[in-house]
Symmetry: C2
Subunit: 278 residues, 2 copies
């Protein structure tokens, strides 16, 4: 097997944090397996998180009505993006797997990582209007969200005060990663490490380390294939009638987002399906 | 009725954008009704979006293991937060209603607005560990997300390629706004204005203008009352057994997130319930 490249996009301030330890375990474990590991340490890099016209060198097409996605699409094609974006593009281009390591802030990744998504997943580089989801430009790459929570797992159940974690994950995993074509692996969720004992934290890291040994061979979460949708403007990119008919007798919806007014398929955004049964 | 104060947190680069027009309609309509309207124009302010130790004046409690929420909680109580955060706190403190006006970026608000949430909704100011959800410190205030999409509405249906917009809204509305106690009003969603004709765009703004005339009297979206949960550490903040029992015979779950493995209650995050029937 050719050596693989892993990019870790990492967002925590403190080198003594659990997130830092999880990142370090990934660097060590993957390096020991012969992988090339690259880390984008966003706070340490002082990564600029705001998408603005400053991301484009040279003349804007429509300075009087600036549209970020349009302008950066053109700038990408003409090699006029800012140097820091180009540097992140070089890292992503090499990567077979991207690990996003962060603390969950307000049911999402930190703003500095949201800014990475907005600035680095450039139209033309990560997707185009024609190339999204199954056909996204990152379809040969894998991605995994690895994050810590403040709250315990019980709060993120379908009867917990924060609601089902699968609902929280849908916009992050479908709306960003799968949208660009990434094969999204099951998230690695570290539940409340700040309240855990040292031995519990150690056990969490050992679980992650064990998983990392096979992470590059993991099969992804299940999303709805783009082929199931009528992508014509008239149809509005809704599921084809025959697909809906086939699902009418099923107990669950297709995915967390495409739930078809049925109960959500359990663990859709947290566990890969049992592929051997398919 | 005493005059009301409305804060508009606004995130778009361009004064010629539809978002700018929606913000301007809100300023004009609410001002004409006698409201005091304050605008935080995040890009124009060059709002600093990244939560770091620089947000705290003076000595950190644990510089070797920096935890943002902990350190800013202490700094808030000791009046040692940075001036820009204090300025936003002053605006929020006055506001009866906050309107968040933004283009949907990657199924969420732009990073600059995510940064506003992280830095301004400080523990101690917007919530405490004991004061969340129904008891959040912003419980006497209303909030509304007003945003534009690139995609048409059909793509955000339960059978659309982007999935149900209610799922996308749950982390934004429950995980941030309701978490701090805000009474969350139905979102104002402008579907694909960039692809609409000038007369369609005008009609969208007129609908918004008409809504704004009564927005301060609107009843909020329905979330699960904190009283329904057993908040003890042992129980893990899950719904009380008697509540689950009462819902067992219902066709739908309680909310988008607390779905109890049942179909999601339709429009839970997009339409206020018909209160007169309750």
């Amino acid at each position: 097997m050719a050596p693989k490249t892993v990019l870790i996009v990492y967002a925590h301030h403190s080198p003594s944090s659990f997130n830092a330890a999880a990142k370090d375990v990934a660097v060590q474990t993957l390096t020991a397996q012969g992988c090339k590991v690259i880390v984008s340490d966003l706070y340490a890099m002082n990564f600029h998180a705001i998408a603005t016209a400053a991301d484009i060198k040279g003349k804007l097409k429509s300075p009087e009505h600036f549209l970020y996605a349009e302008e950066t699409f053109i700038a990408y094609k003409e090699d006029r993006l800012s140097d820091d974006i180009k540097e992140e593009h070089r890292k992503v281009a090499q990567a077979d797997l991207i690990i996003f390591q962060f603390p969950l802030y307000w049911f999402s990744y930190p703003a500095i990582m949201k800014g990475w998504m907005e600035r680095v997943l450039t139209r033309g580089f990560a997707y185009t209007l024609q190339n999204t989801y199954d056909n996204g430009l990152c379809k040969d790459k894998k991605a995994v969200l690895s994050f810590t929570t403040g709250a315990p797992e019980t709060k993120f159940q379908p009867d917990g005060i924060n609601g089902d974690v699968n609902v929280l994950l849908w916009p992050l995993q479908n709306g960003v990663l799968h949208f660009c074509g990434f094969q999204v692996l099951a998230p690695q969720i570290f539940w409340g490490p700040a309240r855990a004992s040292p031995s519990e934290r150690k056990a969490m890291l050992e679980t992650w380390q064990a998983r990392l040994k096979g992470v590059l061979e993991e099969r992804p979460l299940s999303f709805a294939s783009s082929e199931l949708f009528d992508l014509s403007v008239q149809a509005g990119a809704r599921l084809r009638p025959e697909v809906k008919e086939a699902y009418a007798s099923q107990p669950y919806g297709l995915t967390t987002g495409q739930h078809l007014d049925k109960p959500l398929p359990p663990n859709n955004q947290t566990k890969a399906p049992p592929y051997d049964k398919h």
